[in-house]
Structure formats: structure tokens, C-alpha cells
Amino acid sequence: MARMKFYCDAERCIECNACVTACKNENEVPMGVNRRRVVTIRDGEPGERSLSVACMHCSDAPCQAVCPVDCFITTPDGVVLHNKDTCIGCGYCFYACPFGAPQFPLDGQFSTRGKMDKCTFCNGGPETADNSPDEIRKYGRNRLAEGKLPLCAEMCSTKALLAGDAGVIADIYRKRVVNRGANAYLASGSLQKGAFEALQTPPQPE
């Protein structure tokens, strides 16, 4: 079976936020809830890199481990879904998640945060009927059930964000790394120059 993963190629991400709005679009995510976001490090300096982050659908998901009502399910494809009906809005998954994927509509209020919402890899929720009105209302659209991939990755402007089977993605990324290394090598005689050169501040002029 395929093991579904995301990978964001930081060399290509230009922080265009298409992944962010595509997710909003496809799943009608309300204002204040950000299933996906783009984080930029070294903003404004040489070495600036951006990464698109949402739920990474971990193999050993911390959110799944700590949930008091065990509302997470990992599908056979490796997608981590959760059950909004069971969710008690305690926020433990948010504390445990390294990527800040769980989002809460009532964050900051007293006691309850509302039902947790997060990226579903465009795979809806635990309901058995795909793309039923219930599922769409609660979780957004189920694209995987239609044989499609998450819209964020499909609409990435530079194909930085990849989603799909881990093996295929790894292969795509490997080819890019080889290309970049080869270019750097041909240009400067060093495999690591070029791609990582910019990460040293200040950049060295030729």
C-alpha cells in the first residue's frame, strides 16, 4: 500500500501561499483556522528559506499517542485522521505536535477550544461514506477517495510541495538534489557550493 507523505522542497518554496489558500478553498476552512501555513526562516537575509507546514501524518503520531479519547485513526495509506465527534477539545494533540498542526476554532476562550481541526491530507474523516455531506461539513473534501492528491500540493506554484507516496516523492526529490549538486559542481567545482553557499552569511563574491 502507498504510504502518504508530504515533502516541502525548501529550495523551491517561494512562500507564495498557494498551498494555504488552496486548502482554505477546498475545505472551506473558516477564518482563524490555518491548516497549512508557510514559515520563512532567515526572513530578508541571504539564506532565506521557506517551508510549507501542515500535518505531516507521522508514522508514530504524537497526537494520536496523547489523545485522551483516542480519536485518531491512521488509515492503511498512512494518513492520520481524527474523529471530530469524539474530540473533546482538550488541546493535548496541539501540545504534542511538533508542527503545530492541530487548529482550534475557539482558541483563547475559557475551557473548551472547540473541535480540533487539522489537515486531513484531503482524505476527509473517519466516516465510511466518502464525500458525504456530513464528512464535507466537518472535515472538508475527500480527494484521496477520488484518486486525487491533496490540493495544496497539486496547486503549488513551483512544485515545491510534494504529496503522495513516500517512495515516489523521495525519488523526485533525489533527482532534484542530484541536478542541483551537478549544477553546483559544474559551476564551481564544489558539490555543496551554490545550494548551501547562501546559507553562510554574508555570501562570498567570486
Partner: protein, 960 residues
């Protein structure tokens, strides 16, 4: 996403237009989508206690889902969009993987266009300002009142007192119709965003080698070995173009150089970033050329064959030694040399520029310098080379080509009598009748001749406020502007905000035709005299649109016009009817249910635009291209097999001759390695055959397969006769072509025959490095009007003031005379953000985008911030030398160099610290409001096109 109707309402109800919206919104609400947030908002959790009855879920109701192909309405990349529509509701967006430009990719805006189908903050119905309150009125009442007032003004002040400000967001047919409408009304006071965007590009580039458009394409950049981006930030302004640039980088090893005062998101992916002092483009380019000439890296053979007057450039370049360059631009020699060497050693290289280069008082010098650079390296007319000018709005290229401009008719024919007669013929109207529509007076002289107003440039949009506020005696028309149409045009993209407020208050009537109220509705303090007419977006109509690479794309209609909006061409028809010239205007255009047939409009401009080859792109061919996106090659854009076999995607103009000729379009301009019949071209012979006794036609260079192997002038009927090709014309063609040339022969026969013999209809000349009709024939440097280096003004002064230029007094030297740099020590520049577009009211009304940029801000270097006692996130006042001031949040970052500050221009709705949200019509205020940076930006206009100087002015910043 697939919405499903879960209510008991029948799928299709016939309801009056006004309440159709209720159905759609109820529909959305009942599927729990729009109210999704509300359902989650209660602590109890709406779905919590209800059992998830998966097994009993209802099968999705509603009709089948249609897929509609259209094109994004934001930037000029022209990304393909697949819209999913069910029961007339836009329910989903799918990536258009087979579209040759974007291959399914989008930026934040393109991925969010479906929100147009929600349209919560749209302008919903015709609205009038009555005694300070927005009052809903009917279309009939609106059109009647507006029409009456226009006719009043026409009678008392003349037709030139009405300004028709059009839009880069028209589709081609609407743009064409708008220009025609201004002509029928009888004025040249018609313009659009290109004026303030790439007008200097068009003027500079067209005057160098013939056409002022992007010469290659985004896709062709795959072939580039080096990419130089100067004054452009495509990572934010044209994000999908980065897909092509990165392909060139990764698969082709291309080098990327970015020249920009800011370390932009594009610079973050570049091999070299050069930060120059804003406004010093020409010195830097000449600085690079200095190294190129010195090392003999220029392409001497190319220059000999295809370039005129490079020696005069050499003389100018010789003065720009590295120390002078460093003094003026701030860029050290090593960096300049490195860039020059990269471009010289990695050919073909392409040169990209955007507003950073164009929006200056010497914009036309900048653009010509860029062209000359590429000519020197021989990078023109080759795959992977060229000057790839990234246009702005989705159809600014089309609107420019279709002539929504104050100085020309569709197709760049200009305003001379011959041009009017050509179009009179195409329109099948009596020339004298058209002439009679204009003010019969004359207010300008050409030499000793009085020039009729019909043949003089109108007032450009960058100066419309002066057309209102200036002393009437100083304006070269009968009276000042009294009524203003802001038709798809936001006012906060033009400078001098406080004066614009005054102008808007002085007008007798202002009509905003737009899907959103825009800043125009709230900026002026008025009690009446403003009409807001809801226009439909391009998703609610159909037609063709021209992308930056000159490809025409066909859009289908996604949804019916929302609320009470109407497509622009419908409004134009209804207005024309009220004003009494619809018979003439729509003489050969079928009108059904008050909607002019789009395809008839396409066919009409196909019949008239021979100059730029907008003649071969018939509706049928364009629709066929739309249906076969996937058959076009990703790099060459050529269809290999399939129904469009041999065509280039979108039939990039010039697509010569009639549609029957099946010219495939010209993907890379000036490429002599291909026959003209397959899209090749030489440089255009536009400036005569000789200058000062020197031949300026091409020498020993011609297209493959051309029977004339040396340079030749543009084709005329007489020339065909001389060449003995006249009899290749058919009898009908001969009749039409007799005494005409390739531009005015409406049969297309001259073009057909010329191409048949392998020749370009427009001649084969050298590109010229000097433009002897411009104020500066050789591009030189002149300091910006508001400069931080006043010590350089003595060596590089700006132009003399002009008493009348585009009908208005235009100041240069009198402004630069005073040194403001002491009181206003920081250089202020402006630019774009990826989340918003243009004036911003449309994108700031989209919640998915608005959430990402909630605050207007100014980027400030830590050094300047510390000097002003400002911390990241503090509010600051920015004040300009002309008195404008804005209160914005400070974003302290090293992205901008010390002494430079950057503001985005997309915000509006706050004026000089005052929030104007309450002044918007109810329910139509954008989610995000902010200060418009152009409240602070200052006077400064290009010496050829009146482009505004929005890339360098001065300011001071203090903590609020």
C-alpha cells in the same frame, strides 16, 4: 469541493434576478459550508451529540458537475483554471495539469479564485450617493441619470470633459469596445493601468526594435543559461513564473541575478543579488556594458548586422567607469563585473524587468538601456534570450494592444488622420461622422500647424487629477475634466493621494464601474455625485485575454453574474444606447438581450489590427487551443500533433494574416532562425530606411527561407509590384490592397504574400540603439525628482519643465531644484505582495487572502529603526515632501538596505490615519483596510509616457 444540496429545494427554480442570490447562498449555507465556522463556534460542538450516520448518509443531490476552462484574472502569467460548477454554483477548483503555462500550479490568489463565486463583499447593486448616504437604485435609473449628466457636460463643456478610465481587467473584446466607445463619444481622454505600469516599456522597447512586448515567453526561459531580473520580484508578482525559472536553474544550470534595492523573495533564490540605489538603473546597466565592451564580450557580428548606432552607446558607456558607477549606484565594481561576466559567459541570457525599471521619470531611458544590453550581447531573437517583460494585470497586455490608451487607437495605430480613417473603414463608419463627435477646436500646435483635438494625445491616467485641478487655461482642451469614469480601476495605485481626494471632490460626477466599491467610494468627502455600478468579474462572462507572452487565451463563463452585476460589455451597450450612438458602435456586432456578442467583437478587431497581427486569432482557433491545452509542448509551446498541430499556444501575436492563413503565431520575436511562416521575424523597419545618411535596414541578416536575404522596408502595395509579387494576390485582395500597405490592407493579402515569400510584412531593419525622437536619444542617467543625492543633480539633472505635455503642464526641474534630502532622509519605494493584487480591494475582500496580510506596513532597516526609536510592530508616521502622510506598522528587517524603506501599494480604506470603513456601502467593505502608500508618493512623470515615479521618492519616518 463538491457541495451537495441537502435542502428540499428543487435544483432549478426560476426566480427573479434579484433573488437568485438567495438560492445560491442558502444552498451554500445549508451544506454547512459558509456557516462552518459558526457551527464550530459553539462550545457544545454541533456534531458532537449527533451520531455520525455514515451508512445512512444521503447520496449527493444536485445536478452533474460541469468542468469549465477559464484563465485566472490576476496576473499576466495567465494560469489555466478548471472550475467545477454544479447547478450554477461554483463548487470546486481543480488544478489544470495540462495547461502549458502553469501545469496546474497557482499562487495564493489563483488558488483562491473560487471565492469570487462567494462574493460576500461584492458591490451588489447600483448605488448612488445621496446626501452622504449610499442608496440603492435600479440600473435604469442609474444609466439614465449618468447618461443625462454626461450629455449635459458634453453640451456645456465638450466631450473632452468626460474621462473614460478603463481597465486592464477587461477581456480583449471589452477593452476593444471601450476604446471604440471613447472614440464614439469623441474624446482621447481614455487610458488604463498600463500607463502607470509598463507604458515606458512599450514606448522604449517599441522604439528600439518595433514592438514593445515580452519578446519570448515564460516557458522559453527554460532555454536560458542566465536570467537577469532587474526591478522585478516575480516570486511575489508572478509566482508561477518561478516554476519556469527554477526549471532553467535546476535542469539547465541557469544563473539567476537579481538587481533590486530589496533582498526580495526572488533574490533569495538567486546566485547574485545586487542592491542598487533606487533610480540608478541606467548607470548600472552602462556599468555592466562598460565591462562587456572593455573585454570584447559583445556580439560584434550581431551588432553589425542587426543594430544601428551602437557606437553612440559606446561613447556614453565609456563615461561610466567603475568608480563613477559605484558613486552613483552604490554598487562596487566587483559585483558589477561579476554580473556582466555571468551574462556574457552564459548565453543565451534573458533580461526580465518590471516596475522597478519602468516607474521612473526616466523610465523610457531605463527600458531602452535594458534592450541595448541584450542587443550588445546578441541575446535577441534566440530561444532562451530576449527581453522577457513580465506584465502586471491579467489583461494589461490585451488592453494595451487593443488601445485603451490616450495616444492611440487599437493596434498602436496612433491618432493621425490615416489611423482614424483605417478604423473608420473597419468600423464601417463615415470618418467625418467620427470627426464630428470630437471637439472641433484645437489647443496644440505641431510646428506651425494647429492640431485638431482628435489627433492629439489625451490626458493620461497618471495625470487625471491635474486634468481636474489645473487651471483650465493651462489644459490643452476646451475645459477641465468634470466627470470621471473609474471603470475597473483602483485610485490608490496612482500617486499624490491628497490631491486625488481634492480632485474627486471637485468633479461634478464620478462613476465607479467595478465588482467592488474601491477606494474611490470612500476617499472623497462628498455628499453626492458618485455612482457605483456593479460590474461582473471575468468569471461571469467569457472572451479572450492576452497573457504577457502575447498568447491569446479563451475563457469560458463559469457562473452567471452575481447579484445585480452586469458584464462590462453589457454596461457599455446600455450606456451607448442612452448616449445615442449604439447604432454606430454596434453596427456589425450582434446584440442579443442587450448583450453584444463577444465573438463578433473578436472578429471585428481581427479585421482591423494588422499592425500587431491580432488578425489570425479567430474565436474558433482560440477555442480550439483552449480545448487542447495538453497538446502544446512545455518549453516550445508548439503543438505536436493533435487538432492544433503546428500552432504555438495562444497564437502569440503577431499571428499574421487572416485566420484562414493559419499562421501559427510568433513565440519568440525577432528570431531569424525560423521562417516567418513558422513564427520567425526580423527586427521591424519602423523608423525609415536610413538615418543621417546611414542605412538602418538589416545587413546580411534575414529569416530562414526569406527570398530577400538582406534588409527591406515595410511592405506596401507598390513594393509588391516592384518585387513582382503583386499577382500572387487574389482579385479581391488586389482590390482591397491597392494603394495600401501591410497595416491598412484589410484583406490581409499583402501580409499573406510577403510571408509566402518568406518575408516579414513589417520589413527587416536594424534595431536602433538611439531614438532620435525622444528627449534623450541616447539613454542617459538623470537623478529622480526627489533624490537623496542632491549633489549629483548638477551632473545628472532632470528635464526642463514643459508647458504642455499630454495636454498638461509637466514639471521636472522646478521640483528637483529644491533639496529635500535633509528633512526627508529616507528613500521610499513601493512594490507588491503575493497575497494581494493591484489596488487590492478585490483581494482584500477575499477572506482566504485577507487573513494572510492583515496589516499595512513599512519595511525599515534596523539602523533606521534604531535611529527613529522604532521597534518591530510599532506604529509610525511616514511623511512625504508634498505633505501626504500615512500611519502604518513598522516591520523592521534587513531586507531593505539602510536608508531605504518599502511599502506595499495594495492597501486602501484608511486615509492619513483615519479609518474610513464606515464610509463603505454596507456589507461591501473589504476585510482588510490599510493606508494607501500612494497618499505619500509624489509628483514625478516620465518624459515620454507620463509614467509616474513610484519607485523612488523621499520620506521621513517617526514613531507614532
Amino acid at each position: 469541493m463538491k457541495l451537495t444540496r441537502i435542502s428540499e429545494q428543487p435544483a432549478c427554480q426560476s426566480v427573479p434576478t434579484g433573488t437568485r442570490t438567495l438560492n445560491r447562498r442558502e444552498f451554500l449555507r445549508q451544506s454547512g459550508l459558509v456557516a462552518g465556522g459558526a457551527a464550530l463556534a459553539t462550545g457544545l460542538g454541533a456534531g458532537m451529540m449527533r451520531k455520525s450516520r455514515a451508512a445512512e448518509a444521503e447520496a449527493p443531490k444536485g445536478g452533474e458537475i460541469r468542468q469549465v476552462k477559464t484563465i485566472c484574472t490576476h496576473c499576466s502569467v495567465g494560469c489555466g483554471i478548471l472550475a467545477e460548477v454544479q447547478d450554477g454554483v461554483w463548487v470546486g477548483q481543480e488544478p489544470a495539469f495540462d495547461h502549458p503555462f502553469n501545469r496546474g500550479g497557482h499562487c495564493a490568489k489563483g488558488a483562491a479564485v473560487r471565492e469570487h463565486g462567494h462574493g460576500e463583499r461584492r458591490l451588489k447593486y447600483p448605488t448612488k450617493l445621496v446626501d452622504g448616504k449610499w442608496t440603492r437604485i435600479s440600473w435604469d435609473q442609474a444609466l439614465n441619470e449618468i447618461g443625462d449628466k454626461l450629455l449635459d457636460i458634453r453640451a456645456s463643456a465638450g466631450p473632452d470633459s468626460v474621462y473614460w478610465l478603463g481597465s486592464a481587467k477587461f477581456n480583449n473584446e471589452q477593452a476593444y469596445l471601450f476604446r471604440k466607445m471613447a472614440a464614439m463619444w469623441g474624446t482621447n481622454n481614455v487610458d488604463h493601468q498600463a500607463r502607470i505600469c509598463h507604458s515606458t516599456t512599450v514606448a522604449g522597447v517599441a522604439n528600439t526594435w518595433g514592438y514593445g512586448a515580452m519578446t519570448n515567453s515564460y516557458n522559453d526561459m527554460h532555454n536560458a543559461r542566465a536570467i537577469l531580473i532587474m526591478g522585478g520580484n516575480p516570486a511575489e508578482a508572478h509566482p508561477v513564473s518561478l516554476q519556469h525559472i527554477m526549471k532553467a536553474k535546476e535542469e539547465g544550470g541557469a544563473r539567476l541575478i537579481v538587481i533590486d534595492p530589496r533582498f526580495t523573495r526572488t533574490a533569495a533564490h538567486a546566485d547574485q543579488h545586487i542592491a542598487l540605489r533606487p533610480g540608478t538603473d541606467v548607470p548600472l546597466v552602462w556599468g555592466m556594458l562598460w565591462h562587456i565592451f572593455r573585454n570584447g564580450w559583445e556580439d560584434k557580428e550581431f551588432i553589425r548586422q542587426r543594430v544601428y548606432a551602437m557606437d553612440e552607446i559606446r561613447a556614453e558607456v565609456a563615461r561610466w567607469t567603475p568608480d563613477v558607477v559605484e558613486d552613483v549606484t552604490g554598487v562596487p565594481e566587483a559585483e558589477v563585473l561579476r554580473a556582466a561576466r555571468t551574462m556574457a559567459q552564459n548565453r543565451p541570457g534573458t533580461f526580465v524587468w518590471c516596475m522597478g525599471g519602468t516607474q521612473h521619470s526616466i523610465g523610457n531611458n531605463n527600458t531602452r538601456a535594458y534592450c541595448i544590453f541584450q542587443l550588445a550581447l546578441g541575446n535577441m531573437g534566440v530561444a532562451g534570450g530576449g527581453t522577457n517583460i513580465f506584465r502586471g494585470h491579467d489583461n494589461v497586455q490585451g488592453a494595451t494592444d487593443l488601445g485603451v490608451l490616450a495616444d492611440t487607437l487599437p493596434g498602436y495605430y496612433g491618432l493621425a488622420e490615416g489611423s482614424w480613417k483605417h478604423w473608420a473603414k473597419v468600423w464601417d463608419l463615415d470618418f467625418e461622422w467620427i470627426k464630428g463627435r470630437f471637439d472641433s477646436g484645437s489647443y496644440e500646435k505641431s510646428g506651425d500647424q494647429e492640431t485638431p483635438v482628435m489627433n492629439t494625445n489625451g490626458i493620461p491616467v497618471s495625470r487625471w487629477i491635474d486634468g481636474v485641478l489645473e487651471e483650465p487655461a493651462n489644459i490643452a482642451q476646451k475645459q477641465a475634466i468634470k466627470a470621471m469614469f473609474l471603470w475597473g480601476h483602483a485610485p490608490n495605485s496612482q500617486t499624490r493621494g491628497p490631491e486625488m481626494k481634492q480632485a474627486m471632490e471637485k468633479l461634478e460626477m464620478m462613476v465607479v464601474v467595478d465588482p467592488y466599491p474601491t477606494f474611490s467610494s470612500v476617499l472623497p468627502d462628498r455628499k453626492d455625485g458618485i455612482y457605483l455600478l456593479p460590474a461582473a468579474t471575468q468569471f461571469e462572462t467569457y472572451g479572450s485575454v492576452t497573457a504577457s507572452n502575447r498568447s491569446l487565451q479563451w475563457r469560458d463563463k463559469v457562473i452567471e453574474p452575481m447579484f445585480e452585476s452586469r458584464p462590462d460589455h453589457v454596461i457599455m451597450y446600455q450606456l451607448a444606447k442612452k448616449l445615442g450612438f449604439e447604432q454606430e458602435m454596434f453596427k456589425h456586432i450582434k446584440v442579443e438581450n442587450e448583450e453584444p456578442l463577444i465573438e463578433d467583437l473578436t472578429r471585428e478587431f481581427n479585421r482591423g489590427m494588422w499592425t500587431v497581427g491580432y488578425t489570425g486569432q479567430s474565436p474558433e482557433r482560440l477555442k480550439q487551443h483552449q480545448q487542447n491545452w495538453g497538446t502544446f509542448d512545455f518549453t516550445s509551446l508548439k503543438a505536436d500533433g493533435g487538432p492544433c498541430d503546428g500552432d504555438f499556444y495562444g497564437l502569440p501575436w503577431p499571428c499574421w494574416g487572416t485566420a484562414d492563413m493559419k499562421h501559427p503565431g510568433s513565440p519568440n520575436l525577432y528570431d531569424t532562425s525560423k521562417p516567418v511562416a513558422e513564427g520567425g521575424l526580423p527586427f521591424r523597419a519602423r523608423y525609415g530606411v536610413e538615418h543621417n545618411g546611414t542605412n538602418i535596414l538589416a545587413e546580411g541578416s534575414s529569416n530562414v527561407g526569406a527570398e530577400l536575404t538582406d534588409g527591406y522596408p515595410e511592405f506596401t502595395a507598390d513594393m509588391l509590384k516592384q518585387l513582382g509579387w503583386w499577382d500572387d494576390l487574389t482579385a479581391e485582395e488586389k482590390q482591397a490592397a491597392e494603394g495600401k500597405n501591410w497595416k491598412t490592407d484589410v484583406s490581409g493579402g499583402i501580409q499573406r504574400v510577403a510571408i509566402r515569400h518568406g518575408c516579414a510584412p513589417y520589413g527587416n531593419a536594424k534595431a536602433r540603439a538611439i531614438v532620435w525622437t525622444f528627449p534623450d536619444p541616447v539613454p542617459i542617467h538623470r537623478e529622480p525628482l526627489y533624490t537623496s543625492r542632491h549633489d549629483l543633480v548638477a551632473r545628472y539633472p532632470t528635464y526642463e519643465d514643459r508647458k504642455s505635455f499630454w495636454r498638461l503642464p509637466t514639471r521636472h526641474q522646478s521640483i528637483q531644484a529644491k533639496d529635500y534630502s535633509g528633512e526627508f532622509p529616507i528613500i521610499l519605494t513601493s512594490g507588491r505582495l503575493v497575497e494581494y493584487e493591484g489596488g487590492g480591494d478585490e483581494s482584500r475582500s477575499n477572506p482566504w487572502l485577507a487573513e494572510l496580510q492583515p496589516d499595512m506596513f513599512v519595511e525599515l532597516n534596523p539602523r533606521d529603526a534604531n535611529n527613529a526609536g522604532v521597534e518591530d510592530g510599532n506604529m509610525v508616521w511616514i511623511e512625504g515632501p508634498e505633505g501626504g502622510r500615512i500611519k502604518v506598522k513598522a516591520l523592521v528587517t534587513r531586507r531593505v538596505a539602510p536608508g531605504v524603506a518599502f511599502t506595499p501599494f495594495h492597501f486602501a480604506g484608511v486615509f492619513e490615519g483615519q479609518d474610513l470603513r464606515a464610509k463603505y456601502p454596507q456589507g461591501s467593505d473589504p476585510y482588510v483596510l490599510g493606508e494607501a502608500c500612494n497618499t505619500v508618493f509624489t509628483y514625478g512623470y516620465d518624459s515620454v509616457t507620463q509614467m509616474q515615479e513610484t519607485k523612488c521618492t523621499l520620506c521621513r519616518i517617526a514613531k507614532a
